[in-house]
Amino acid sequence: MRTLICFLIGALFGTGLAISGMMNPAKVISFLDLAGDWDPTLAVVMAAALAVSAVGYKVKKGRARPLLAEFFQVPSAGIVDARLIAGSALFGLGWGIAGFCPGPAIAALSTGRWDVAVFVVSMVAGMAAFSLMPRAK
């Protein structure tokens, strides 16, 4: 039951990525390229996604627990540390080069392209490398 619902939620997310055009690195890069032929679509996608998910977080405030789980697992407010900034900077560098972030890259596997698969495998390898580090959690 949980598996099926999560599959459907993932499918909704992936459908949104496909419809919005964010699965296409060319479209992401043309947003990031302020000095080029700028395409603001990504900002619209982010604004719409934020508006709807913010409603979800507002509804959550009035509830003690989720519908089908024991408790909410939302990170508590932590400090802004070097690790957060360094990781985000490294991610931003890769994102600027490839035009892919994790969600769109996985969704783009739907095209069956081998070069997308190579990218996703590299991304997973980067994650695995992190989890092998001594202090990783």
Partner: protein, 141 residues
Amino acid sequence: MDAFAPLQGAIGGAMIGLAAAILLLVFGRIAGISGILGGVLPPRSSETGWRAAFVAGLIAGPLIVASATGNLLTVELQSPVWVLIPAGLMIGFGTRLGSGCTSGHGVCGLARLSRRSIFATATFFAVALATVYVTRHLAGG
């Protein structure tokens, strides 16, 4: 490549936000793709199954769009594979080190006004903008 597409962007974005809201309200989870994908890697736990199902859904969603609209989905890669590999490694490692990506920090984190996510999102957007400026306008590529 298509030009500015605000309608598709708004519809697609709302679906992404709705998926994040449902995952939160039904299962109490953050829809952070890097965290979900990282959680599929071994060791297996009771959390592996739902994450794998979510990832499978991410791939299935676009297939449904493609068959429903008769449109092949456009994916125009911007770099050769030898460049995509180090970029993928950086993204995988960086999103785990920084505890999130565009979805976890950018959508879910900003939606709940998390201070960490605001800093993370500002950082990855700034670095990505600078990277594209350098690669497109300074490096002659």
